[in-house]
Symmetry: C2
């Protein structure tokens, strides 16, 4: 791309470092900002820098947080006896969006993956053990993605917890609501038949 301006080129290159944004999209964004009032652009940049400088990870669950303790861990209305183990912060948001869960979380920060050189020591598993030792937790829900790495991680954690009397569960898998059977993948459909749930009309 041929820039007649060094300033534009640098701004385009800055945007193009972001995931999923190529040079053409970056240029579109930069030309949009050129036409915005200066203070709007400063507010935009400010929100990003402030976020990066002040963002913390929750001391208890490792969720992103503005305070040492995140809003979920600090909420007295949440059930402190149930902890949902997830891979990333995005999974916390996805589950929160359902409004179906009132317990706490524990963000692992990844899954065990020997290929990528991620071992149990790189994940937030020790702090999970510490939380469990405090004795308040009675149930653990594993909401880790169903990949080989995810299953390995679930296996590792459940082995670590085998001497406790915690209730351990994984989230239900099956055909999605509104999904059509013929479009479901074979593995999911197969497992949904093996793990069928008893059904009876009440009368």
């Amino acid at each position: 791309m041929n820039f007649s301006s060094k300033l534009i080129e640098e701004a385009v290159n800055a945007f193009a470092t972001l995931p999923g944004i190529g040079k053409k999209t970056a240029l579109r964004l930069v030309l949009h900002l050129v036409n915005q009032p200066g203070e709007n652009v400063e507010q935009f940049a400010d929100a990003i820098v402030k976020m990066r400088q002040h963002i913390k990870f929750c001391e208890t669950c490792h969720n992103l947080s503005d305070e040492p303790l995140c809003a979920i861990c600090a909420d007295p209305r949440r059930d402190r006896g149930v902890v949902c183990i997830v891979e990333s912060i995005r999974d916390v948001m996805a589950i929160e969006d359902t409004s179906q869960y009132r317990g706490l979380y524990h963000v692992l920060g990844g899954v065990i993956s020997p290929i990528e050189g991620i071992g149990p020591g790189d994940l937030n598993i020790d702090t999970l053990a510490q939380r469990i030792q405090q004795g308040e937790i009675r149930e653990i829900i594993m909401a880790v993605n169903p990949t080989i790495e995810g299953d390995t991680t679930i296996f590792y954690i459940s082995k670590k917890l085998k001497d406790t009397d915690l209730k351990i569960s994984t989230i239900a898998r099956g055909v999605s609501f509104g999904g059509e059977l013929e479009y479901a993948d074979e593995l999911t459909l197969g497992r949904s038949i093996v793990a069928r749930v008893s059904y009876r009309t009440e009368d």
Copy 2:
């Protein structure tokens, strides 16, 4: 979307003001920046703010520029007798990328559009007239997009220039190179037959 952090929410909202970026993409970008070193994020924000603060429009052709005169207008190797009229800065970049044009540009900053309330007075047409009065220009190339508004603009400018002895042309339109006839739109294909170019092998 359920943010447990106000800082994240503000950064996501900042990104979501950009064209073509929704909340989900914005969140992906913000979580990417959370995992970047702080100084990288500051450099990113800095490049954008600096660009917005210091960017100028070229006094001669209205292209984006770091100096009062843009790199193209300031280049002594460019042919100062030919001026290509374009709608926007992006068109300048597109033509520069072809490396086929060695003249100067004139960026109108839009096209005449009564529906959107854009009249000739809102475009950089007066400065074009001033450039022509200086007497150095001998040819004008109209490279405005072939819409009704674009054609109106071309018609308006060519009427203004009818008392000069300038050579006026528009860029060639037709089926693209590598394009297949059956997929070309009817208007383009029809015009490419009406405006056929004579062809003879040299022997």
